[in-house]
C-alpha cells in the first residue's frame, strides 16, 4: 500500500502527519518505508532517527555544443521538445538553457556533425536510513540552485520498491513535483487547515487528483482556527474527512522540539492508527 501525504498549501502539516503515521505503521506492519519527497526542503530526518546505510548522488547529462564543429543547421533545436536550445544561424549563435534540459538525448542523436557531447551535472542525493530492523526512511535532497526536483524524487521512489507500506511525504503545491509523488500512490491524504488559504489550495489539489482519478481523503489540521467553510465544502463534495487535529499549543510544542506526538500522547497513537486503518479501508473499496 502506497500512501502519499500531500497538501496544496505549504505548512499545513504534511510532515507532521507522515512522520506520526510512520511511527504507528512501524508497530503494525513488517516492512515500512517513509520517502521524504519534499526534495527542496526535506525535514523528515528532523523527526525520525536512523543509521544512514547508503547515499547516492543523482546526476543528469547535459549537452555541450562545440561551436567550432557546429554548422548552425538547427536540427538539435527542432528535435528538442523542451525549448532548451536557441539556434540563430544569422548570428552564428547557439545557446543551451540548462534548466530546461530533460536529459532525453535527442539533440545528441540529431547532430550529424559530431558537435554535441555530454557532461554530467549533479542534481542532488538520495539517502537511505535504517530506523529499525523493518523500517527505513529515504530522503530526496535537491542541490541548492537546481531547477527541477523530478529526477531526484523519482530516484528516491525507485529505491522504495518492495515495501509493504510506503508513505510518501509530498512537496507542497500541485506542480510536476507533486504529480511525480502521487502517480505511484494508491491513496492520497490531503492535509489542510480551516482557513480561506487552506480551502483555496485544497480545491486545486482535489481538482488535480480528480483528473488523475486518484482515491483520496482529507485531514484537517489546526481545527478551531478559521471557519467552517472547509467542512461544508467537503460535505458538499462528499470527500471523506479522515481526521481532525485541533489547534493546540502542546501539539505545536512537541512538533517544534522534533518529537512525535504519537510517542508523547497515547490517545494520538490511537487516532493515527485509526487514520491508517481508515486509509486501508478506503484503498480496498
Amino acid at each position: 500500500m502506497r500512501i502519499a501525504i500531500a497538501s496544496g498549501k505549504g505548512g499545513t502539516g504534511k510532515t507532521f502527519v507522515s512522520t506520526n503515521l510512520f511511527a504507528v505503521a512501524e508497530k503494525e506492519f513488517h516492512n515500512v518505508t517513509l520517502v521524504d519527497c519534499d526534495a527542496e526542503e526535506p525535514n523528515v530526518s528532523e523527526f525520525i532517527n536512523g543509521k544512514t546505510i547508503s547515499t547516492e548522488i543523482i546526476k543528469q547529462h547535459l549537452p555541450v555544443i562545440d561551436k567550432e564543429a557546429c554548422v548552425y543547421c538547427g536540427k538539435c533545436r527542432h528535435w528538442c521538445n523542451y525549448n532548451a536550445i536557441i539556434c540563430l544561424p544569422d548570428n552564428k549563435q547557439i545557446y543551451l538553457i540548462e534548466d530546461l534540459c530533460h536529459d532525453c538525448g535527442a539533440c545528441l542523436a540529431a547532430c550529424q556533425y559530431n558537435a554535441i557531447t555530454e557532461i554530467e551535472k549533479r542534481l542532488g542525493t538520495v539517502s537511505v536510513k535504517q530506523c529499525s530492523n523493518h523500517s527505513r526512511t529515504i530522503e530526496a535532497r535537491l542541490d541548492i540552485g537546481v531547477y527541477s526536483p523530478i529526477s531526484v524524487i523519482k530516484a528516491a521512489l525507485n529505491k522504495a520498491q518492495d515495501t509493504e507500506i510506503m508513505l510518501i511525504d509530498s512537496p507542497p503545491g500541485i506542480s510536476c513535483s507533486f504529480i511525480a509523488t502521487i502517480v505511484p500512490a494508491d491513496f492520497i491524504v490531503l492535509v489542510t487547515e480551516p482557513t480561506p488559504f487552506g480551502l483555496n489550495d485544497l480545491k486545486l489539489s482535489v481538482e488535480t487528483l480528480e483528473q488523475l482519478k486518484k482515491t483520496f481523503g482529507v485531514v484537517v489540521n489546526r481545527t478551531g482556527l478559521g471557519d467552517d467553510r472547509v467542512y461544508d465544502w467537503l460535505e458538499e463534495k462528499q470527500i471523506p474527512l479522515l481526521m481532525k487535529i485541533p489547534f493546540d499549543k502542546n501539539i505545536a510544542r512537541i512538533y517544534s522540539q522534533s518529537r512525535l506526538l504519537v510517542r508523547e500522547d497515547p490517545s494520538y497513537a490511537i487516532h493515527f492508527l485509526n487514520l491508517l486503518k481508515a486509509i486501508e479501508g478506503l484503498c480496498k473499496k
Binding site: I85, D90, I97
Partner: protein
C-alpha cells in the same frame, strides 16, 4: 531598425501584452520602412521554455530592441549576449499604435 513589441491582439489598437514569452502576438515594427507585422505567438501555451522559444522567434526576425511589460529570468542574459536591448513599459493600457508613435520620434 526592427523592434519587437508584445501585444494582446492583432491590431494597432491592441494594448501591450505584459508578458514576453507568453504574449498573444509579437509586433515587428521596422523604423525605416514604417511597416508592421503581427505574428501570433506559437509559444503562448508552451509547457516549458516559452521565453527561450520566443527569443528564437524575435531574434530570427533580426530585431535589435524588444518592448514588453516584463522578461523572465532565463531570457535576460541571452538577450544581453545577442546585444538586443530590452525596454520595459509599466503602463499596461498603452496601445501598440502609441508605442510605435513613441519609438518613431
Amino acid at each position: 531598425m526592427k523592434i519587437a513589441i508584445t501585444s494582446t491582439g492583432n491590431s494597432p489598437e491592441s494594448t501591450l501584452d505584459s508578458r514576453f514569452g507568453r504574449c498573444s502576438y509579437f509586433v515587428i515594427y521596422d523604423t525605416e520602412s514604417g511597416t508592421t507585422e503581427f505574428i501570433p505567438n506559437p509559444n503562448k501555451e508552451a509547457m516549458e521554455g516559452a521565453g527561450p522559444a520566443s527569443i528564437q522567434l524575435v531574434a530570427s526576425k533580426g530585431v535589435e530592441k524588444v518592448i514588453s511589460g516584463e522578461f523572465g529570468g532565463k531570457v535576460k542574459a541571452i538577450f544581453d549576449s545577442l546585444k538586443i536591448q530590452l525596454v520595459i513599459v509599466n503602463d499596461r493600457t498603452m496601445t501598440i499604435a502609441h508605442i510605435i508613435e513613441m519609438v518613431s520620434k
